[in-house]
Symmetry: C2
Subunit: 327 residues, 2 copies
C-alpha cells in the first residue's frame, strides 16, 4: 500500500450490483444469514459440499426479545444448542411467553450454575439436557461454553459427562486445541446475547472473540444482539465479501418472522467498528463507500452507513475489524 493514503468517500445510489466484484481470488466469503437457512443461497454449503462446518446456537444470560419465528429458524438450523448458565432461564422465559413447543431444549447447560434456577435446571435435565458444572471463576460462562463446543466436535475422546468439576473441561480443551491446530473441524457459533447488555460484558465478548480468532481460527462467531436484531462479527485482514443479499418482503418474513423497519427503505444499517486497531478500509456496496480510509475510535468511524449492494457488501481491511449489520 502506498504511503500516501487517499481519503476518499463516494455516495452511491440506493441499489447497486456487486457482480463484478464477486468471487475474486483471495476474497473471503462470509454468509452471516446461513444460521437461518443453511441449505439456501444464503449459505456456503449450497455452493460447495466441502465446506461442512457445524452450526451451534449458544444462548447467553440476556433477555431474548427476537420474534419467535426467527428463533425457531435459528433453532432448526443448529446442530448443537448450548445454554451458558442463566441462558437456560432466558430460554425458558422466552418459550413460555410465546407458547413454543415443549420439545425445545438445549443439549447442554454449562457454567458455575449459580444463575440457572433449580426449577429450570430440573425441567430441562428431565427432558435430556446434560448439565455440566464448571465452577472456576477464572473462566467466564462464555469461555466454558466455547470449550464445551470445541470439545464436542473436535475432541470426542473426552467424556464430557465425567467432567463435572472446577475447570477440567477448559484446561483439557486448551491443551488439546494447542496440540492439534491443523486438523480441526470448522464450527460456526451463533451467539444469542453478549452485546447490548451491561457494557463491560459487551466489551468483554468483543475482546474474547478477537482472542479466539488467534487461538481457535476454526471457530467463527456471529453475535445476534437479542434486543435490536442486528448481527456483529469480526473480519480478518484482507478482502471480505459479506454475502447478505437484500431480501424481498416475502423472503424476509419467511426467514426473520417479521418485516424489519429499517431506518431507510430496504437498506440495512451497517457499522464498521475499529475496536482493536487503527485500520485502513476500502468498501463496496455501502451508501457511503470509502477508499483507503483510515479509521479508529480516535479519528473517524463509519457508523450508520447503509447497505446498497444487492448481493451484500465488501470490506477490504488492513487489520481485524468488527462489523454490525441489521437483519
Amino acid at each position: 500500500m502506498s504511503d500516501i493514503i487517499m481519503d476518499h468517500v463516494i455516495e452511491n445510489d440506493d441499489v447497486i450490483s456487486l457482480s463484478h466484484h464477486f468471487n475474486k481470488t483471495n476474497q473471503s466469503l462470509l454468509y452471516p444469514l446461513s444460521f437461518l437457512n443453511r441449505n439456501s443461497s444464503l449459505s456456503s454449503s449450497s455452493s460447495s459440499s466441502s465446506s461442512s462446518s457445524s452450526n451451534v446456537l449458544l444462548i447467553l444470560n440476556q433477555k431474548i426479545t427476537i420474534p419467535p419465528k426467527l428463533f425457531i429458524n435459528i433453532l432448526n438450523n443448529a446442530d448443537l444448542i448450548i445454554c451458558a448458565d442463566g441462558g437456560i432461564n432466558q430460554l425458558k422465559n422466552f418459550t413460555d411467553s410465546h407458547n413454543l413447543s415443549s420439545s425445545i431444549k438445549p443439549h447442554y447447560v454449562i457454567g458455575d450454575l449459580d444463575s440457572a434456577t433449580p426449577e429450570n435446571l430440573s425441567y430441562y435435565t428431565n427432558k435430556g439436557t446434560i448439565k455440566l458444572l464448571q465452577s472456576s471463576q477464572y473462566y467466564t460462562d462464555f469461555n466454558k461454553s466455547v470449550s464445551l463446543i470445541n470439545t464436542y466436535f473436535n475432541f470426542p475422546q473426552i467424556d464430557l459427562k465425567s467432567l463435572n468439576t472446577l475447570d477440567e473441561l477448559e484446561t483439557c480443551e486448551e491443551k488439546l486445541n494447542n496440540l492439534s491446530k491443523n486438523s480441526l473441524k470448522k464450527i460456526d457459533i451463533f451467539v444469542l446475547g453478549g452485546v447490548g447488555g451491561r457494557f463491560d460484558q459487551t466489551i468483554s465478548i468483543i475482546h474474547q472473540i478477537y482472542k479466539y480468532k488467534l487461538s481457535r481460527n476454526h471457530i467463527n462467531f456471529t453475535i445476534l444482539n437479542p434486543e435490536h436484531e442486528e448481527l456483529i462479527f469480526l473480519l480478518t485482514p484482507g478482502e471480505n465479501f459479506i454475502n447478505m443479499p437484500k431480501l424481498n418482503q416475502s423472503d424476509e418474513f419467511k426467514l426473520l418472522g417479521f418485516n424489519s423497519i429499517k431506518s431507510r427503505h430496504n437498506m440495512r444499517n451497517v457499522g464498521i467498528l475499529p475496536l482493536l486497531n487503527d485500520t485502513i478500509i476500502t468498501t463496496h456496496g455501502l451508501k457511503w463507500d470509502v477508499t483507503n480510509w483510515s479509521t479508529s475510535l480516535k479519528s473517524k468511524v463509519s457508523s450508520s452507513n447503509l447497505q446498497v449492494g444487492q448481493e451484500g457488501f465488501i470490506i477490504k481491511n488492513s487489520d481485524y475489524i468488527f462489523v454490525n449489520v441489521e437483519l
Copy 2:
C-alpha cells in the same frame, strides 16, 4: 514510569476504606452520582462553591426503562433538558406509561426531526418546548444537541430561535468554541441513551465523547445505559478518584427508586474498558486491584470487577480509558 511493568493483581476484602488515598495532589475527583442530588456529599458543589457547573439532561432516541423515581431525580437536578429528535417520543412514552406529571417537558428538541412524531412535537411545543430544526446529515443528533447545549451556556449572543436551518447552529458553535477556549463555563451532560442500543450507535457515542474531550474539555459526559442502570464515563490520564460511596438501602431507594440487585451483595460491577489505546492502570478499591497492569482489547480487560471501596474507587491510567459502573 519504569520500563519494567509489574503485572500485579491482588484480591481485596468485600469492604475496604480508601480514606488514606483521598484528596491527594494531582488527583481528579469525579462525582458520577451528582446528577441525582447535586447538593449532597455525592456532588462536588457541596464541598466547593467555586465549582459551579451546569447540569444538563440529554434524552436520546432509545427506549427508557429506568424506574420513574430515578428519572424524576435526574430531572429535578437538571438546569436544562434537551431531547435529540426521537428522544421526545421516548420521553412521551415513558411519562405516559408511568402517569408522570404532565408538566414534564424538555426546554428544546433538536435534530432533522424526522423521528419525532408530529403529535409529540406539537404536544410539547404547545407547552413551551422550543423546536430547533437542524437538518444537516453531516452532524448526528448527538452532535447537534451538544452544539445547542454549549451555545446555551457559553454563547448567549447567538439567538437560538433564529437558527432554524441546516447546520448554522453547529458551524457557529464550532467557530466560537475554537476561539474562546479559556473562559468557558463547565457543563455536565447526563446522557440518557446511546449505549445498549444498536451497536454502531453505541461505538459512535464512545468515539464522539472522546473527540469532545479533546475539543471541548469543559464539557463532561456521563451516559446512563437506559436498559441496564449503569453509568459510563471517560477518564482522563492521571489519577482519578471516582467518588461514589456505597449506599445503604434507604439512601439507595431514595436516590434510585429501587434497591438494585447487584451480582454480589452491595458491590457495584465495574468495568475498565481500554477502547482507545493500550493503557497501564493501577487501581484501589476494586475486588481485584491491579498495579501497573497493561490493558487493551488485544491483551487483557478488567471486566466484571466489583467496587469494594467504601467511598468509591481510584483508577490511575496512563491514557484515556472508559469506565462503566452499576448504579
